[in-house]
Every structure is written in C-alpha cells, then in structure tokens.
Symmetry: C2
Subunit: 325 residues, 2 copies
C-alpha cells in the first residue's frame, strides 16, 4: 500500500486531476491512506490562495464562483472549487440545478470541482474539508474556493480555513443581513451584493454599510462589491478586492497570524472529533451506558451526572470541570 500511496502522492504533486480526485475520496471516506497522503504532501502546501464564500442558499455563490473561475483562468491560474453541499435524505442532489454556471468549466483541466456532502457528522466534515483543501493546495492549484451555506458554528469552522472570507448577499432577502446585524455572523473580509439588478440593491448596500460602521476596523476597510454574477458584471472588481485583501494580510502579517489561529483550532477540532468518536465506539458495546441512559430517561439521574460517570468509566484520566461530587 505504501507503494500505491507514494505514487499517488507524486502524481498529486504533479497536478494530476485523477490523483487529486482519488486522494479526496480517501480523505472523505476516512481511509487511513488519505491521512497518510495529506501528511506526505503537507510540506508542499501553503501556496494556494484560499477564498471562502458563504451566504444563504440561493444568493448565487456557485454562479459567482463560476464567474471568478473564468477570470482566474484568463490569468492562467489553476483553480479548485470545494463546495460543501447540504444534503438530506430527501433532497440529496436537489441543488445541482444551481451549479449550471460552474459546470461550464467541467471540461477545463485547469479547473477542479468537488462537492462534499454534509451527512450530519459535522465535526468530521469540517475536518475532511480542510484535508481536501490541503490536497488541492498541494496539487498546485493557485486558487481554492470554499463554498458553504448557513450561518451556524459548523459552517464558520469550515470557512475559517480560508485566508479571505466573502459573504454573498442578495437584495430583498433579509436573513443574512439580519444575522450580520445581530452579530450571529462574524464580519467577513469582503461583502458581495449579488443580483445587483434587483431594485432593492441600494437599500441593501445602505443596510450593509450601516452594519459595517459599527464593526471594529482592524486596519482593513471591508469593501462592498455589487455583482451580477450570471452576466459577469462586477466580478473584475471583486477579483481586485480579493487581491487587495491578500496583499493587505500579507503585509500586515495577519495572514500567518490567521493561519496559525486556524491551524490551532483545526488541530484541537481533530482531537475533539477523535475523542468523541472513540467515546461513541466504547459506549456502543457498553451495557452500563444503556443502563445509565435508562436512569436519565426515568429522571433518576441527571445528564451531567451521567456524563461524569461515563467519563470516569471510559477514561479515569479525564477531569470533569464544574461537576459537583
């Protein structure tokens, strides 16, 4: 197997698309060979520009990424897209219709597109997403676009892998701007108001400006870019802003700061995910756990005390802060 992995790593580093696809599948299916591969190619990473695009479903993120990809290809840059696809038992694949513009690039060898599904194991998904982004980076892609939906913590964890975070809004759809206003969502580096042919565009721009005026500056003035991604309008300006932000964080040293912070939380996230997985595995064969759970359901034992007892059983070394004795 080491043989196979070695040559896969070499082909990946040479930029072979099939090797990249195969490598991501290994990582996604939690195959040990995938982890080994990432370890092997990790020293070659850190070169790609990782841009995260987030926003509500329907805001036009995929179309925008399609338009960005077109411009980046004109600059002869290699592009990879990692789309974190929501899915559920009954809508799996339902979003594919939105990907039309992105599929324009399906035949271009300079563009690599991959979807990852959210199958409930979110800790694991965030972990797998970073590994996939690292593989894309190692394969020599100049630009890696990460696409996520939603404003929750799990989505934030994924988008945190990015060097530059772009929030995509659309006029007349208030949820995201409300989330921004309420502080549910962190202030991104760049805000795009897409579908800017909509009559409510200027209203939304004003609202965004008002929210930003309350935000801390930190040396970077968050630009608001109006785009009509489906016609490519405003996209060259967005590319300029992306390059400016990149230059800014490189100059200020915040790129390495940001990467250190993200890598720290990534390492801890992997640790937490593995501890939880190990715990679940131990408990699956543990009749005492079922008995404790019965006690909790019967209201004879409270959840926190049950947790204390479980942590003592499975691993006496783990402390339980805040639990009375």
């Amino acid at each position: 197997m080491a043989q196979t992995t070695d040559s896969l790593a070499q082909r990946l580093l040479d930029g072979d698309r099939r090797a990249l696809a195969r490598a991501i599948t290994l990582v996604e299916s939690d195959d040990p060979a995938g982890w080994e591969l990432v370890r092997e190619v990790y020293p070659k990473t850190g070169q790609a520009t990782i841009v995260g695009l987030t926003g509500a479903p329907g805001a036009g993120k995929s179309t925008l990424i399609g338009a960005l990809t077109k411009l980046r290809r004109e600059q002869e840059r290699q592009v990879a897209v990692l789309s974190i696809d929501p899915s559920s038992p009954f809508t799996q694949g339902a979003l594919l219709g939105d990907r039309i513009r992105l599929t324009d690039h399906f035949l271009d060898p300079g563009v690599f597109i991959r979807s990852m599904a959210n199958r409930g194991a979110l800790g694991g998904l965030s972990e797998a997403a970073l590994q996939a982004a690292l593989l894309m980076d190692a394969a020599g892609r100049d630009d890696v676009f990460l696409e996520t939906v939603g404003v929750g913590q799990a989505e934030v964890d994924i988008i945190d892998h990015a060097d530059t975070v772009v929030l995509v809004l659309m006029p007349g759809s208030g949820d995201s701007i409300q989330a921004l206003k309420a502080g549910v969502m962190e202030i991104p580096d760049i805000i795009v108001v897409n579908k800017a042919d909509h009559p409510l565009t200027e209203t939304m721009v004003r609202e965004v400006r008002a929210v930003l005026s309350l935000a801390p500056h930190g040396g970077w003035r968050v630009p608001i870019v109006k785009t009509e991604a489906s016609r490519g309008k405003g996209v060259p300006e967005l590319v300029e802003r992306l390059d400016e932000h990149r230059a800014h964080i490189e100059q200020e040293g915040t790129l390495s700061e940001r990467r250190r912070r993200n890598l720290r939380s990534e390492v801890l996230g992997i640790c937490t995910f593995r501890m939880r997985a190990a715990l679940e595995e131990q408990l699956a064969q543990d009749e005492e756990f079922q008995r404790l759970l019965d006690e909790v359901v019967a209201r004879r034992l409270d959840p926190a005390s049950a947790a204390t007892q479980i942590l003592r059983r499975v691993d006496p070394a783990q402390a339980e802060p805040g639990a009375g004795d």
Copy 2:
C-alpha cells in the same frame, strides 16, 4: 454551601422566581453548585411542555412568543422563556428592541423570561441551555419556550431539547425557506408564516407546501400556520396545533423516544465538551503543544498527525481512528 443549595432547591421547586433566576446564573457561570442543584431537582422534571422556536433574526420569534405567552397565561399556565441571544463584541444587546412585546409580561409573576448569550463557547451554551430549561421545568413552569436563531448545527443542538420544534418564517425573506429546501435545516413539527399581512404570504405558503410534499411523513402532517404575531392574529390556531402535536407524540410514544434520543445526545455532548475543556486546560501549560503548533504552521507537521501526537501525550488511552502510523 450544601445548606444554601438545599434551601435554594426547595425554593426553586416551590416556584420562587428569584430562586430560579439565581439557579440559572449558577448554571450559566459553570458554578459547581449549579450542577448540584440540577442533579437535586432533576427527578421533578419532565412535566413541562418544551417548545423550541427557531428562524432567522427579524422573523418575529420574540413577538410570537409574547403572543403565545399571553394565551397560555389566559389558560392559567405558568410560562418560562429562554432566549438564546446572539451577541458579538460590537452588537451586544442590540436586539433588545425586538423584545418589546415580550417585556409586556415582565411584571407578571406567572412569566419568567431569561436571555442567554452565545459567547463563542457553543458546546457549553447548548449544555447550559438544557440545564436552564430543566430548572424552569422543575420550578413548575407548564410551558417553556426556547428561542434560537440560525440554521447551523449548534442551534440545532439547542432546539433538540424541545418536544415540539416550530420554524418561524416571514414572507419575502427567502433564506430560511431555501435552507429548508436544500435540506440544511431539518423539517420542523410546525411551520409558522409570520407577518402574514405581507403581499408575498401566499407565495411563501405555496413554497413551504412544495418543500413539505417532498418530506417524509412519519405519521404527522406538518401544519403551516399564518400569523400576525404583533396583533395576535393566528396565534390561537398556533396554540391548537401545538396542543395537537403534543397529543400526537404522547399517543405515538414518540415523545419518550424523542426525549431518549435528545438526552443521549445531551449526555454525549456534555462528555465531549468536558473532554475538550480538559484538553485545552492541559495544553495551556504545555510547551510541547506550542512546539507542535509551530511545526504545523511551518508545514513540517500536518494537523492530523499533530492531533495524533497530542492525544498520545495527554491521554494514551484515547484511540485515534483513521490516523496512519
């Protein structure tokens, strides 16, 4: 201290509002006395009807809860509201304006209102939110309303404490319905289209109906209720649907199934949170961790291998699934 806790528990069980407020503060600040208190009163819980309301900021959840509270009070039921408040360094408290209708009830001793802030420690927040809901239950509140924003995993964890989940939408704001369509959001038990005087109300109802037609049934037909919460319109119908759903899950035995599943994930969530906290504590004083992190930043050691080394250092008993050696 045992003396103090004992009498606090007794006053809480007697329904004393100040005791309840004090108890929640103990839990929120992770005071061991808070955990002890929950343990003591836990056998008295399980009586309250716990209703979770979720939806984007601005959809009118607080107003709706205010209107629901009014009706429940007319039925002489005791009400508690737990609002999971988003906050950020620069918008803290900015949402208070939305709470106007809820504050109508501030002087009614039959209504207990409490906000909890999301201060980044989301695992801990979900944990604290359940503990607070249990305390409200033990204090004899007949109805506990849990309010959260957002559609992410962390918010789902909180709303999972509820027996009945209500999604609040507003017409003309497409994000939530898109999230539902995309399967980012689980199908709730009841859908409310609030602000139903809006011209786009029927469009939204049709869209919701189309999404629901794709959803699995499971014996319960998800009702769509149109409300104008600010005028109390449609709220009696919502109360009827809430009662119907309650009767349905009691009859079908799904209430106890649901509670068992939720309590299981709660116990595991508390375990995970404590393991992570214990890990962070150990690493805070660990120079080797800083050195490992430096290696990761310098791209000499990949994040997953760093995690493997850390888990071996801090706790050799923990397995690391999927990590090559």
